[in-house]
Symmetry: C2
Subunit: 455 residues, 2 copies
């Protein structure tokens, strides 16, 4: 009786525990474990290899069956891919490249030196080579960069019977999906059929007579985040990619959609916190991360040091009482602007907030901000007056706080919208930059109000 689901993680934990014995591949246990590993899911094997020392990973990789090598390879981290590739002998390397999809090979080529690239291209057949070279012209985060080109498509003058007869000849080299896109004789997209149509319609039916509408068509240079949001909106898990002449170039698959959604979600969070690096965090060297994050922190530090100039110039106004509330005011401004900007930025990035509703949402945030500023001013007055019994001082602190909170909501909601108008990604370091602007503005408001009321 077959196992319904692979119990791969237990096997792989076992391999990780006995990794030195396994890679030697001499003991009986090692042979059993390697045999079992070849039955595990490729994603789990890749995860194991990504967590091991790279010398062990390479040895393990060489012990995999050839078909498994191909599946596992494209799930490895970039650095490990490069190491594995250089460890393969030319027969294995040739096997890997010949059995990969053109779009997989294209992604791989970004990792290679010009020399390695030339060697790899030599291995490929002429047709594959042309396909790979034509794919290399597309930006990696455009439809052209993420589409799958080895997908089964059909022509509208085919009958159902002819289509069914074709399928076994096209597979497994080309992938089959439930939505099969249909073209005319010039390879222009004309619609789609569902896989089940081939089962349920009579054999002599021409595909042109059973075409369905395509809910969403991606243009080849369209950005992947926009495509993913549109596909989610239209509830479709595959989408065809066409060029400006409506020629069908490839298909964005459900797996790619999921991958893009996950990566874009990660990018948004990292960008908003100012910790974004262009590659994955796990694949970037510590030095690049320190440089990238360090530059941002240094810029913010220097801008923020403006607060010291403001505080210095209001030195005479600032009693010890007023000084003691500086950190509280600054912090509340950051918290409030962060709440608002997260909603606006995430909404714009996911497409939930768009031109049709942005004004409604901004008006709503202003109302929320106004209410919050009154609430917080009252609480601050109570807290400060209860502790210090200094009426005008409490007025200065709470009035400043109220104004700062309202300004934070105003900036936190309007700034992302303005940035987007100027085609700057609103997620970029929104959190720290907004907090810094609000700090400077907040300190100024506080000092000025203190000066007006107490002097």
């Amino acid at each position: 009786m077959m196992e319904i689901c692979m119990i791969s993680t237990t096997i792989l934990d076992n391999i990780a525990t006995h990794i030195q014995e396994v890679v030697l591949h001499e003991s009986t246990r090692s042979k059993i474990l390697i045999g079992q590993m070849n039955l595990a899911h490729y994603a789990d094997i890749a995860q194991l290899m990504n967590s091991l020392e790279s010398e062990y990973s390479v040895k393990l990789f060489l012990l995999l069956k050839p078909e498994m090598q191909i599946s596992v390879f494209y799930e490895l981290q970039t650095a490990l891919m490069r190491t594995v590739l250089s460890a393969l002998n030319s027969a294995d390397k040739s096997n890997l490249l010949k059995n990969s999809h053109a779009d997989q090979i294209t992604d791989l080529f970004d990792l290679l030196s010009d020399e390695e690239l030339a060697t790899c291209l030599d291995i490929l057949h002429k047709k594959d080579r042309e396909q790979v070279l034509s794919l290399m012209q597309f930006a990696p985060d455009s439809a052209g960069g993420i589409m799958n080109v080895d997908v089964i498509t059909l022509m509208q003058n085919f009958t159902v019977a002819k289509s069914v007869a074709l399928l076994p000849r096209l597979r497994p080299r080309r992938d089959l999906h439930r939505n099969i896109y249909v073209t005319d004789e010039e390879n222009r997209l004309v619609g789609l059929i569902k896989l089940e149509d081939l089962l349920l319609k009579s054999p002599e039916t021409q595909l042109r007579s059973i075409l369905r509408q395509v809910p969403f068509i991606a243009e080849v240079d369209q950005d992947q985040e926009e495509i993913a949001n549109k596909m989610a909106h239209y509830r479709t898990v595959t989408a065809p990619v066409v060029n400006e002449h409506n020629f069908l170039l490839g298909v964005i698959t459900g797996e790619t959609l999921v991958d893009v959604l996950q990566r874009e979600a990660q990018e948004d969070v990292h960008k908003m916190a100012g910790s974004y690096v262009s590659q994955s965090y796990f694949e970037t060297s510590s030095a690049s991360i320190i440089l990238r994050r360090g530059i941002l922190l240094v810029i913010l530090l220097l801008v923020e040091s403006l607060t010291s100039v403001i505080l210095g110039s209001y030195e005479a106004t600032l009693s010890a009482f007023l000084v003691s509330f500086i950190a509280m005011l600054v912090s509340t401004a950051g918290n409030t602007s962060g709440q608002t900007s997260a909603i606006i930025i995430q909404g714009m990035s996911s497409g939930d907030i768009n031109d049709s509703n942005i004004n409604k949402i901004l008006r709503r945030e202003f109302f929320i901000g106004f209410s919050l500023s009154i609430l917080l001013a009252l609480v601050a007055f109570a807290r400060v007056y209860a502790y210090h019994q200094f009426f005008w001082g409490s007025v200065v602190v709470s009035l400043s706080l109220g104004i700062i909170v309202f300004a934070s909501v105003l900036f936190g909601s309007v700034l992302p919208v303005l940035l987007k108008k100027f085609n700057i990604d609103p997620a970029f370091s929104a959190g720290p930059f907004l907090a810094t602007i609000m700090d400077i503005l907040g300190i100024f408001i506080y000092c000025y109000i203190a000066y007006l009321i107490l002097n």
Copy 2:
């Protein structure tokens, strides 16, 4: 010649512009526009209705064809769903409920009062009613709460021919996917077949002989975020849901997966910024949002006011020079801890950071934090000394800054991990809470170092 893709957005913009004329439904233009609207994509129609005043949306909804009403209805915002439902006459309401899937009806029931619920249940057939009631026991964000129960499944003793003959009888009431899950006679999951197997295998083949392994099986009470991460990991766009006896209960579809990924990404961002409300932002009243965000801000304000106590008690030490850098130190701490915590929290939530690599990543963050603290301390010293030529003062500021930066990275990376250990969602208000803790700690460090060096 049919249109390949619906040009629905133009039509809908047109309707939005002439909405008052359209809902009157008297002019020729209105009739043409309504005719065209019924050809648009249901997701676009729902988006239009969600952006209009609700009285117009209800009138537009009533002008839709019955099939379209069902598709559009489940895409509407909660409040609008409720309004539309109460505007339907009993024939339309009955049509809507009878043609909905059991899981759609279950989601709907969360919106109704007990009385309305009873009326709706009355409309359903006995079998549907039982299905709906059994679904209502599952938590909305568990596998049971998001699974689709009206999905075609087959039995292992069926032949390919029998399966093909069954399909037209099961559709369209039940959905067909490319992965068709197969059970034994007791409804226990035994594997899956692909839709194309029914096309390519000979008609007399028994399904039991062509079963494939299921890459991932969800348990009925498993959390939706964990399921989505596993499905993405195993590159599968559908997953079967089973109970503790391995009985097949339903299927999580690709559309649901995409929906969960998008909602969880939004939730993570909102939680991290402390602006999370349990329903969608767009479906929550302003009063609830003000209350929810206000409570958090008030708590943070009161905790943060501890800084005023610390600053007050070091009053004698704090010269005007030292005071002027308080905001800069506090802000840098917030920026640094935000960078680190975003990486750790997002990684844990997406499954990229897990038990197998957390120690490696923490060690890496400590190293990055140490390097950043030295870099920022040097920059701060240069900035402060250049401006003020006060050596020991510059030492106090830069030394404090270095220690605060390192402590921020330490807290920003370790705190999320600790929270997770205690089963608290690490995303919850991580940003503001961390910033507040770091402010208090930072102010204390600053005052104490100033006291040690300058007194």
